[in-house]
Symmetry: C2
Subunit: 324 residues, 2 copies
């Protein structure tokens, strides 16, 4: 059994907890939180400890899965915790990954641990799709589409507008663009041609809805480059119809191997729950981290550095007999 700890217990932490239940070679030792442990109730009934107690568990936990947020937590948490445990995180601030890798690598090497960073679906499974397909079709083009799914960052941006009580934003790929890529037409697509944005907003009573809609649609970086639709709904409707966190997307590589021969590689995800799927990736990667440490390795890794067989519960013999 691979003994796992969860460090940080929000949506992602609960996703990891669910995934551990689905993997018969993993067990959850405990959840570590910066909140008062008595105030946290886990889905599975697992024990909850204060984050400061984690250091007492170094011989009881094989891999600690970090479930904090990239924006606020993981920059400092992953190097800290990697000095105590083998760790896996889902760090997703793409631009800062090289710096995060360097800091985690230093902490992990100094303490003799394995640390796998930036695992999830993007970065993660989508990164794998991009690397494999570029290696196979070097003469070609990449396309990534996200959605249909909830963007937390865009939902938060709407919530910061005066007069907004709550909001949910869906990123939606444009069907015609998807079809053009899928059919090998190799289109050049603007930001606006790739995705639309649909917003469900709960406004305060008496708020100026026209102003809110205008502020959303004109918000630079987040909305101004997109065709955006805004719907005002009640808090009851938001809770009833928009409580879940679906997501997904598409990674394409289209390429040429000779004058007349074109190829399309498509990797697509349709996810009812972004945090539960991400948690499932983290647990599979924790298995790989466990296997790498068993070989005496240390330092930072990404999912690109792990052999696929290391993520699987099956033995190399079983994989060759049944999965090739």
């Amino acid at each position: 059994m691979i003994r796992i700890g969860i460090y940080g217990y929000g949506n992602l932490g609960r996703g990891v907890e669910r995934a551990i239940e689905k993997n018969s070679d993993t067990e959850l030792v405990g959840v570590f939180t910066r909140r008062d442990p008595a105030s946290v109730k886990t889905v599975s009934g697992a024990n909850v400890y204060s984050a400061s107690q984690a250091k007492e568990f170094t011989d009881k936990i094989d891999v600690m899965i970090l479930c904090g947020g990239s924006a606020t937590d993981l920059d400092t948490q992953t190097p800290e915790v990697a000095s105590l445990f083998h760790v896996v995180d889902s760090y997703d601030t793409h631009a800062k990954i090289p710096q995060h890798f360097a800091e985690v690598d230093k902490a992990a090497k100094e303490s003799g641990h394995i640390a796998v960073i930036s695992c999830g679906w993007d970065p993660g499974m989508f990164s794998l799709a991009r690397v494999y397909s570029q290696a196979i079709l070097p003469d070609g083009s990449d396309y990534t589409f996200w959605g249909k799914g909830v963007s937390q960052g865009h939902s938060d941006a709407i919530r910061r507008i005066e007069g907004v009580l709550d909001a949910r934003q869906y990123t939606i790929p444009v069907e015609e663009a998807l079809e053009a890529v899928r059919n090998g037409k190799n289109p050049t697509l603007s930001t606006r041609e790739k995705h639309t944005r649909e917003c469900f907003v709960v406004a305060k009573e008496g708020a100026d809805k026209a102003r809110i809609e205008k502020e959303i649609k004109e918000m630079p970086n987040y909305f101004s480059d997109y065709d955006t639709t805004v719907h005002f709904i009640s808090m009851e409707e938001l809770r009833r119809d928009h409580a879940t966190l679906p997501h997904g997307g598409f990674v394409f590589r289209t390429g040429t191997t000779s004058e007349n021969n074109h190829h399309v590689i498509e990797y697509a995800l349709k996810l009812d729950s972004n945090p539960e799927f991400t948690g499932s990736v983290l647990v599979a990667v924790a298995r790989a981290a466990y296997r790498q440490q068993a070989k005496g390795q240390s330092g930072a890794r990404t999912i690109l550095d792990l052999a696929p067989s290391e993520l699987s519960p099956l033995s190399p013999e079983e994989l060759r007999a049944h999965m090739l």
Copy 2:
């Protein structure tokens, strides 16, 4: 530069030759054939040698890519050539892969070479899709569909019928079955419900077409479990409309992470040329073999044992900065 040799020069050998042209870190040293080298003209103008001369090239070639057929050649060729070179093959007799692996492993370990077997798209990229998605969604179902594409085995089976001059068989996935899986309906599908078979047949003059059609449709293993359509066409039409070797397919994993949350992972290939795409996979894998031997490793591998980063021409730093 990774110096590559091609051992066997049919459709797949030409596919590898095209792929080497597309990869700036690879070069083709020569083609090795069991035919009279003077009778073989390469697409790129590469030198052609007798297979028996290969042993003179052990210090001129880094990786030999075996391009013979699984049915007749690779069982014996891969272990033989692995005793002289680092090798990559596309062995695709699924049931005999464990035995092939063991024989190649022995030869490769004794001579200190790396040998990567069974690389292409199935086995190969489809195997990767299956292993990753099963590791992430352990509670779920797998579906593989092939086509639309030419099945060489089924085309050959038709050619063996009396009165048939030539034939081309297309395997076609049933659109309704694909859609049901894609929409997470988790259907139970019979062989007949997953694929149809379409045959284009050139009959000898005066041959009994009704008998040929009946023999095709009732052929056990190959056609009797499928809805099969037979078209009789002229040799000119066959050459004009069915000269290429397209293929592709779909690997799905549908799975559950908690009571209400279902997920669909889809990996799809649409290939104008089966041999050119397979050749492109083999060249990317040759890069990984080259890197593994540079670390002093030896023995047999499959694509499941190679880290994705090893297949990419980019450095680990470049991958982290641009591909995650």
